[in-house]
């Protein structure tokens, strides 16, 4: 059940994408997410999809593994899609009952939104699949390094992120265990109204919080015992330096941005209509 969540977990493989500097991947993810909101045409989505498929292939993460992460979010996708279908108004009404209206535009909007969300989720999970949390944290620390000058605790924040990532799988497993243990004692997490359900979470949350605090204390002791004393005077085992592959990746990224913008201009301005108008 709960173990199926794969988002945020590192998948070990030896690939070009794995070897990229985390800063490149952070930047690429950011750019990609923005591009999904810029690309407003079939052509734009096609380019974004192709770009994503190529990245997944290059990353050597199995497609089934990538998609499994989506599976756990199907509910959110379906929920928001039906919301859009039922509530958006359009010129081409198909059905209307009570407060709901179903229109062609609504359906297209929903499809577009679901598709966009899926690209977004897969796109960002590629980064977490191919970058160890330590690397992500290092990348963030270095990218935001200049902020140290205005007393932003960049090192501490990146350390926190990296530790948070380390404990995600452990806490997921622990939640699973406590849940099962309470079910074995007759607890019911499934049925009942919201209040009953919320109350039913106490036997899960109290042990979970207590054990998290204990883990945090243990970890702090272990870090102190290994001479951790903040970022000052610390060296790096894997200092970040750009290599040729990273420069190339940046070039590809720029190229991608250019064609996304180009496609947008082509579809919207030159041809003068958007996807939806094309179909309606």
């Amino acid at each position: 059940m709960i173990r199926d969540i794969t988002i945020g977990q590192y998948y070990q493989a030896d690939s070009v994408v794995h070897r990229l500097d985390p800063r490149v991947k952070l930047m690429a993810t950011l750019v990609y997410i923005i591009s999904l909101f810029v690309a407003d045409s079939i052509l734009g989505y096609a380019i974004a999809t192709v770009f994503l498929i190529v990245s997944v292939k290059l990353s050597k993460v199995p497609v089934s593994y990538v998609l499994r992460g989506l599976k756990s979010l199907i509910f959110i996708l379906v929920f928001s899609a039906s919301f859009i279908v039922l509530f958006s108004k359009g010129d081409n009404m198909l059905a209307k009952f009570w407060i709901f209206t179903i229109s062609v535009e609504g359906i297209f909007n929903a499809i577009e939104m679901v598709f966009r969300l899926m690209l977004l989720l897969v796109g960002s999970s590629i980064m977490t699949f191919t970058t160890t949390p330590t690397d992500i944290a290092d990348g963030l620390e270095k990218a935001f390094g200049p902020l140290k000058k205005i007393k932003v605790p960049v090192h501490e924040m990146s350390m926190m992120i990296s530790i948070a990532f380390r404990f995600i799988p452990i806490l997921i497993e622990e939640t699973d265990k406590i849940m099962k243990a309470q079910i074995a004692r007759g607890a019911d997490f499934e049925t009942g109204g919201i209040i009953k359900k919320a109350k039913g979470l106490i036997p899960l949350l109290v042990p979970l919080i207590i054990s998290s605090i204990k883990r945090a204390l243990d970890l702090a002791t272990a870090m102190e015992a290994r001479c951790y004393r903040g970022g000052e005077g610390r060296t790096k085992m894997k200092p970040l330096t750009y290599k040729e592959i990273d420069h190339n990746a940046y070039m590809i990224l720029i190229f991608y941005v250019v064609i996304i913008i180009g496609s947008n201009m082509l579809m919207n301005d030159v041809l003068g209509f958007s996807v939806m108008k094309f179909f309606v």
Partner: protein, 576 residues
């Protein structure tokens, strides 16, 4: 030269009330004098709460003395300017493997210490390479720690300390949460470090067989060192150790009892060969030539007159089907559980035993196969799983982690309340269950979180027991407890089985425990059931058990020459 020297070390901790007034002051350490020479392998024994962990934290300067002085490599731990040098020289490995690994990749975690010390990048890599190869984890360097076994995680933690180039390593119960194979791995690694790298080792443990190769043993009780000497000097005091809540290796105990019987076995025996030699000297004949008297009891697995409660047929279950991580967890496993029996299930981590027991109360559903409870198929649509869970109680590993109520009594009531029992019935069930795990009224209103580890565990067991199950399954109920805590729980289970006539299913790593308590034994390996039969019968296959990484109790090996399968110390003493 002494590397660690404590002089009248005192550590106090105080209990305060809500207004920060000190209401009680306890000494966790009460005048400890310990002197450790460089290069030695030192073991510190003591039951939970004896002060041994507090002492370990002093060596690493995580705590500082209230009175007395502690010198680490000549530095006073109270001298704050030496703090980091002390921590670098006295590296520490903790009990819980998950809570001390910081990075998400093995090699990065090993590099964490050197990074903190400000070692240049190139040298960090050299140190990491060397440390990983010293603990034999080089091939896992790019792995994520979550995917490693407990023993491997502890070796990574040790490598993380080694990479800091310490003079001394303190290990605070590093094996308490591991299975037997993991334990062996870790102890072997530590011995190698001690011999090859000349690192001083201080091992804190309550597994007696990890101690016999130490140069010197200290036994602690109530914050004091009560015994010290070589292992054979310390283990000669069998009764005294037992009264301290500790234990001795089985051969040592047998030799001690033979001495009492008038067979002179000398002061202390620590291993099987030594035992056999001394036995021959004392009696003039080999162990294999002892007579046939008395006869050992036959296994009591007479199933015919018992009711079949739970019947699992051809269970199959595969984890993460269709992915790279796919692995079979159960492969065609059938298992019968009879009313009122004491069944042991053994197998190492990953053998499928935990998966199996979760099927038995419907927490997991088999891909194929059936389970019948009192003749009814639990996979039938009409069958109520909550009903099954009431009758088949399951106590998970470290069950104290599931406690959540503000008082012991309320926590135990959680199960019966969920079953919809009335208030009176619930109260009665909770009282009965608490009494049967040996907790009296004094405990009812206490918070579960202020109890000791063993007491918490008993509360958790009572929580399941209060649901009045016909079958009680326990997944390693003794994990992490000291010998006394372990024996208390197991004895209590035996009493329960008799008083309530319920079936007890004990999942365990400890062959000694199942040999003492179980009537019937199931051995799991690689998702398959390997053996299912009377204890003695199963242990007669000790050679095969060893091939799959399990073993019989030490006494079984000692007595193997006789052609008999001996399972307990008592039997051996009687035979010899």
């Amino acid at each position: 030269m002494s590397i660690i020297k404590s002089v009248n070390l005192v550590h106090k901790f105080s209990v305060t009330d809500d207004n920060d007034n000190i209401i009680e002051e306890n000494s966790a350490l009460d005048g400890v004098n310990i002197d450790v020479a460089e290069g030695q392998f030192i073991a510190i024994l003591g039951h939970n709460g004896s002060g041994k962990s507090t002492f370990a934290r002093h060596i690493n300067a995580l705590l500082t003395p209230d009175e007395g002085t502690l010198y680490v490599a000549g530095m006073d731990t109270k001298d704050e300017s030496k703090l980091w040098e002390i921590r670098q020289n006295a590296g520490m490995v903790f009990q819980n493997p998950d809570n001390q690994i910081i990075a998400t990749m093995v090699e990065e975690d090993v590099g964490f210490g050197p990074e903190n010390l400000g070692v240049p990048t190139k040298e960090i890599w050299e140190r990491v390479d060397k440390a990983l190869s010293a603990v034999g984890m080089t091939e896992y360097r790019h792995h994520s720690p979550t995917k490693l076994s407990g023993g491997q995680k502890q070796r990574v933690a040790i490598a993380g300390v080694v990479a800091m180039r310490p003079k001394c390593i303190i290990l605070d119960e590093p094996t308490a949460m591991l299975d037997p194979n993991g334990r062996k791995e870790v102890i072997k690694t530590v011995h190698e470090l001690n011999k090859q790298e000349k690192v001083t080792v201080i091992l804190i443990t309550h597994y007696m067989n990890e101690v016999i190769d130490a140069d010197k043993v200290f036994v602690m009780d109530k914050g004091k060192v009560v015994m010290e000497g070589t292992p054979s000097e310390v283990f000669a005091h069998v009764e005294e150790l037992k009264s301290l809540g500790l234990d001795v290796p089985q051969v040592t105990e047998i030799a001690y009892r033979l001495n009492e019987k008038g067979i002179s076995m000398g002061q202390c025996v620590l291993d099987i060969d030594e035992f056999k030699r001394k036995y021959k000297n004392a009696t003039g004949h080999d162990i294999k030539n002892i007579g046939d008297e008395p006869d050992l009891n036959e296994d009591k697995t007479n199933k015919a007159d018992r009711k079949l409660v739970l019947e699992a047929k051809n269970l199959k279950y595969v984890y993460e089907e269709g992915t790279a991580n796919e692995k079979g967890a159960l492969d065609d496993v059938s298992l019968d559980i009879y009313e009122g029996e004491f069944l042991g299930i053994i197998g190492h981590t990953g053998s499928g035993k935990s998966t199996l027991i979760q099927h038995l109360n419907g927490l997991m559903k088999a891909d194929s196969g059936e389970i019948y409870f009192n003749g009814e198929n639990i996979y039938d649509k009409e069958f109520s799983l909550p009903f099954l869970r009431k009758h088949v109680g399951l106590v998970f590993q470290y069950p104290e982690h599931q406690l959540f109520e503000s008082t012991v009594f309320e926590d135990v009531c959680f199960g019966p309340k969920n079953l919809g029992l009335s208030k009176e019935e619930t109260t009665e069930a909770a009282k009965k269950a608490l009494a049967q795990v040996g907790l009296n009224e004094k405990y009812y209103e206490k918070s579960p979180f202020e109890l000791s580890g063993g007491e918490k565990r008993r509360v958790a067991i009572a929580g399941v027991l209060a649901m009045n199950p016909e079958v009680l399954i326990l997944d390693e109920p003794t994990a992490g407890l000291d010998p006394k805590g372990r024996d208390d729980i197991l004895n209590q289970l035996k009493i329960l089985q008799k008083e309530r006539n319920i079936a007890i299913v004990l999942v365990s790593h400890s062959m000694e425990d199942v040999a003492r308590f179980a009537d019937r034994l199931v051995v799991m390996n690689g998702g398959k059931k390997l053996y299912d039969g009377g204890c003695r019968e199963v242990f007669s296959h000790y050679m095969e058990l060893e091939k799959i990484g399990l073993a019989a109790p030490q006494v079984t090996y000692l007595m193997a020459d006789t052609g008999k399968t001996v399972m307990t110390v008592e039997e051996a003493v009687e035979l010899l």
